[in-house]
Amino acid sequence: MKKRVVVIGGGAGGAILANNLPLEDFEVTVVDRSPYHYYWPWLLYVAFRGSRRPMRREIESLLKPGINFIQSGAQSVDLNNRKVVLEGGKTLDYDYLVIATGSRPTYEQIGGHEKAVEKYGDYHSTVENAERVWKSINSLKQGTFAVVVGGDPYRCPPSPLEGVFLAEEFFRSRGLRDRVRVVFAVPYPRPYPAEPMNEVVEPLLKERGVEYITFFTLDRIEDDRKVAVSMEGEELKYDALVVIPPHVGTDVKISPEDVLTTDRFIQADKYTNNIKGFDDAFVIGDASAVPVAKTGVTAHLQAEVVAKRLQGEDARNSGRTNCPFDLGYGLGTFVISDYRNPVVKLPPSRFSHMAKMLFAATYWDMVRYPELWNPIFEAYFDATEPAKLARIYV
């Protein structure tokens, strides 16, 4: 008898997991509220380059023939009784469950946040909001453009600074750099929270004249006065502002409830992705509370580990991150670390930028044809192990 696997979420993690399961042994059902799978990293280029390249595909077209797709929201999961209830009441029973519902921005923690997004946009939510950022930077001819990290966690730790670098490049290319200040505010002690990567990016900020404010925990935005106010009462004046929204976890009701953190991320074993206390249920990607950055690469690696575990192999996560980091002007780096090794101090290069764009270009193929791409990625990840790189880039 085939094992029934229900996958909630057909984004990066869910789709890759489903495509990695042999259909002779598994009956795979993917459930997603949206008919589309989004390649979220592209929001950055919609916001700061005005890119119009389509960044979504129909989930059905990304899944191998033979995988069932149900377009519906999942409403609740009962882990003890192995049941998933969909919006509309349909119930799915499973032998194995994989939750891959990602994370979503919340606008409730910061005063005036929603209004600010309506006005200036952001690049962690929707294409429409990213287009608003593009409009905002195009209409700013003088004054202060501020990017503020609003709270943790958010998808892709490099993404706030990527926005800053691309905005700086944008204003310079328009010949406005002497009239537009670019300011970056973070709640951390330094622009990039992990020290080794900060040593790579902080000199670039200085070189390009980007001002930054540290220890700034955003409390509220008072747009009538055009100031962002910190929790200690410090004020940051702006003319246009983009806030990196804090994210929360799943909207699915889960029982037992104690597998969830207070911000609704699902607790799991960091090596196996098993949901705390359940050997037949997993969580992968951004939806999980495991101590690793929320990136597509992580979702991908976890999907491969869980696919192997479902086939009886004792695969384990290394906690590897590999976040591409656009530094503007055609330069890039990668944030590479794992559970045992701190972040590598990888210097800026054109090659890393090219690798980032190469990932973007191959993305859809990589989701759809894991049998072709897995060996290539394995070779890449092996060659760029943090322990190996750390010996080169000290």
Binding site: Q109, G151, D152, P153, P157, P187, Y188, P189, Y192, P193, A194, E195, M197, T214, F215, T217, D219, M231, E232, G233, P246, T262, D263, K270, P291, V292, A293, G319, T321, C323, V335, S337, D338, Y339, N341, P342, V343
Partner: protein, 79 residues
């Protein structure tokens, strides 16, 4: 109002770093609350010290036990 004690487990976080977990807890805390953070990243100690100095919150305790740092912080600086 009674003070809350918020426990934060940031052990094993290399990137983006344990300081992000402290900041998250701080956002949801109010003056008088106690935040207790556990972390293994060696950069955590100087980061907590710098954070305390700049934000003006109160450090009640910062100790190391077998490779784990524990910081106990009282939230006092919120306006």
């Amino acid at each position: 109002m009674p003070e809350n004690r918020l426990k934060v487990d940031a052990r094993g976080i290399a990137c983006p770093g344990p300081i992000t977990e402290l900041v998250k807890a701080y956002r949801n805390a109010k003056n008088g609350d106690i935040i207790e953070v556990m972390a293994t990243d060696p950069g955590f100690k100087p980061d907590v010290e710098a954070w305390i100095k700049r934000t003006g919150n109160q450090l009640l305790e910062l100790r190391e036990e077998g490779g784990t740092y524990v910081a106990v912080i009282k939230v006092t600086a919120k306006k």
